[in-house]
Point group: C2
Chain length 331, copies 2
C-alpha cells in the first residue's frame, strides 16, 4: 500500500469519529450546556486518540469499528481536559476558534467539561457487551486521573525554578502520553488482544506520546504554527519549561547564556518580542534543536521496535505509517 | 428503638464515611492537586448521600458496610459539583471555611474537582465483584450528567425572568434530588434488592430531595443559617428564584407587591439590606411560608408512603427516622 492509501484509511476512521461526535448531544437540552459541548467537540483536529483506538483494535485482529465508541469516549475525555486547561491557561483561541470560556463564559466552560465526562463513560461497554469491560473502565479512569496529575505538574512548573529533564518527562508522560496509552490499551482490549500484545501497544503509544510532545516543543518555533492560530514562540512567551529550555539550562556554560535563561525563569517567560531571536540563537549555539530531534527520533524508534514482533496486518502497517507521518509533521 | 438510637446508628455510618474520606488521597503526589482534594472532602457535613447509600443497602436486606465504597463515590461526586459550583457562584465560604478557589486558586479548584471524578469511579465495584455492577455504573453516570444539567438550569434561571413552578421543580429534581436517588438506587443494587423495592427507594429519595430543597429555600430566612456561615436571606440577595419567590410571583395581585417582585427580578436580587424586611413581609402576607411548609410536608409524606410496603428492619426504620429528622431540621 502507498502512503496515500494509509492516509485514506486514516481519514475513513476519522470521518466515523467526526460523525459520531457531531450527533452525540444534538438537540439535547439545556442548550446553555449542550451548545458549547457541541461547539467544542466539532472543532476538528487530527483526532489521533480515537483513530489510534480503532487502529489498535484492528492491529490485534479485531474489528476497528467495534472500538469507535471507546475511541470517541477518549476523545471526549481529551476535550474535557482541553476546555478546562484553556480556562486555567486563560487561552483565548484553540485551533483558530474562540475557546469556550471566551465565546460563552467560564461557568459554561467548567460545566461543559464536567458533563462531558459522563457522556464519555456512557460510551464504554458494560460487562454484558464486552468480556474485558472491567479493564476498559479501569484503564479509562486511570487515564482521567493521570491526565489531571499531569496538568497539576505542568502548573507546578510555572512556580518551580529548577525543573529537571526527569521532572519534564514525568509530566509529559502523564499529560500527553497517558491518553494515547489509554487509546492503545482500550483498542487492544476491544479487539480481544492478548495481554502481551496489548503491552506492546502500550509501549508503542507511550513512546509516540513522548516523541510527539518533544516535537511539539520544537514546532513552537516554526512558522507553520501560525496556521494553528498560535504565535511563534508562544510557549516561550508563556514561560513554559519546554524540552528546549531544560536542555539549554543543562548545557549553558557562558555567563551571558546563563543570564538570559535565568531572566527567562525569573520573569516567567520572555519579556518581549526582542528576546525571541536571542533565545533562538542560544538554542542554536547549544544545539538543543538537534538534541530535541534526536530525542524524539529515539522515541519514534522505540515505538517502532515495540511492535516489531506483532503479526502483520493492515492496521499494524498503519501503526508504522503513523510513526512516519508524525515524525514528518510540520504543525 | 429511641430517636437517640437511630442517631447513634447514623453516626456509626457517618464515621465510617469520614474515615474512608480521610484516607483516600493521603500523602498522594502532587500535593498541589491532592492537598485541596483532601481539604475539600474533610470539611464535615451531614454526609447524607453516602449514609443513605448504606441505609438503603441495609433496607433491602444487604450489609450496609458493603455499600460504603459506593457511598463514598457518591460523596466525591457531590464534592466535585460543590467545588465547581463555588467557582461559578464566586462563593468565598462553604461550611464556614474558605472555598478551594479562595484558599488556593481557581485552577486548583477546577482540577481538584476533575480528578475527584476519577477517584469516585474507582470506588465502584467491577463486574467480578458485584453482579449488578453495570447498573451501578450506569446509575452513577446518569447522576453525574443530570446534576450538571441541574446546575445549567439553575444558572439559566439567573437570566430568565419568568421561571414557573414546573421549571423550578425540574431544576431541583436534577440538581438536588438526583444524587439522593443515585444513592438509593446504588445502595439497593449493592444490597441485591429486587427491582420493585429499588423503585420504592428511588421514589423515597426523590421525594426526600424535593422536600429537602424546598425546606432549604425556607431556611434561608431563619436565624440558624448564620451558624453555617451564611447570611440570612443570602438566596434573595443573590437573586435566586426560590420556591418562595416563585410562589409569591404566582400569588401577588397588588401593584405594590408586583412591583417589589419585578424589581427583584430586574435587579437580579434584593438591592440592599433594607429590602429584606419588605420581602419577608410580602411572603408573610401571601402565606408563601405556609405554602412551602405544606409543599415540603406533602413530599415527606410521599416519601413515607413509598416505603410503607417494604419488609421492616432496622434500616427501613432508619429511612422513616430520616424523614422525621430532616423535617424537623433547623439548618
Amino acid at each position: 500500500m502507498s502512503s496515500n492509501d494509509y492516509k485514506n484509511l486514516y481519514n475513513d476512521y476519522l470521518n466515523k469519529v467526526e460523525n459520531k461526535l457531531d450527533l452525540i448531544v444534538k438537540e439535547k437540552q439545556p442548550q446553555s450546556l449542550y451548545a458549547p459541548f457541541h461547539y467544542l467537540i466539532t472543532g476538528g483536529g487530527k483526532r489521533i486518540r480515537p483513530v489510534l483506538t480503532m487502529i489498535c483494535a484492528g492491529a490485534v485482529g479485531g474489528n476497528p469499528d467495534d472500538a469507535l465508541d471507546c475511541g470517541v469516549a477518549i476523545e471526549l475525555l481529551h476535550n474535557f481536559t482541553l476546555v478546562h486547561d484553556d480556562i486555567m491557561d486563560r487561552s483565548p483561541l484553540r485551533r483558530n476558534r474562540q475557546t469556550v470560556h471566551e465565546k460563552w463564559n467560564e461557568a459554561s466552560a467548567i460545566l461543559t467539561g464536567d458533563v462531558m465526562v459522563g457522556f464519555a463513560y456512557n460510551l464504554l461497554p458494560t460487562s454484558n457487551l464486552h468480556p474485558r469491560s472491567n479493564e476498559i473502565y479501569k484503564a479509562f479512569t486511570r487515564g482521567l486521573i493521570e491526565v489531571c496529575e499531569g496538568q497539576a505538574y505542568d502548573m507546578d512548573f510555572n512556580e518551580k525554578k529548577d525543573v529537571t529533564l526527569d521532572d519534564y518527562l514525568n509530566m509529559i508522560d502523564k499529560k500527553t502520553a497517558k491518553l494515547l496509552e489509554t487509546s492503545a490499551m482500550i483498542g487492544g482490549y476491544i479487539g480481544k488482544g492478548s495481554d502481551e500484545v496489548i503491552n506492546s501497544l502500550l509501549t508503542y503509544a507511550n513512546c509516540l506520546g513522548i516523541a510527539f510532545q518533544v516535537q511539539d516543543d520544537l514546532l513552537d518555533l516554526t512558522a507553520e504554527q501560525a496556521e494553528l492560530g498560535k504565535r511563534i514562540g508562544q510557549d516561550l512567551f508563556e514561560g513554559k519549561k519546554t524540552f528546549l529550555i531544560i536542555k539549554a539550562l543543562e548545557k549553558a556554560t557562558k555567563d551571558e547564556d546563563k543570564n538570559l535563561l535565568k531572566e527567562f525563569i525569573n520573569n516567567n517567560g520572555l519579556k518581549d518580542e526582542n528576546h525571541l531571536p536571542q533565545m533562538v540563537d542560544l538554542f542554536t549555539r547549544l544545539s538543543v534543536f538537534e538534541d530535541a530531534i534526536s530525542f524524539a527520533d529515539s522515541y519514534f524508534e522505540k515505538a517502532k521496535n515495540s511492535i516489531a514482533n506483532m503479526k502483520e496486518n493492515l492496521n499494524t502497517q498503519m501503526l508504522h505509517w503513523l510513526i512516519e507521518s508524525l515524525n514528518k509533521r510540520k504543525k
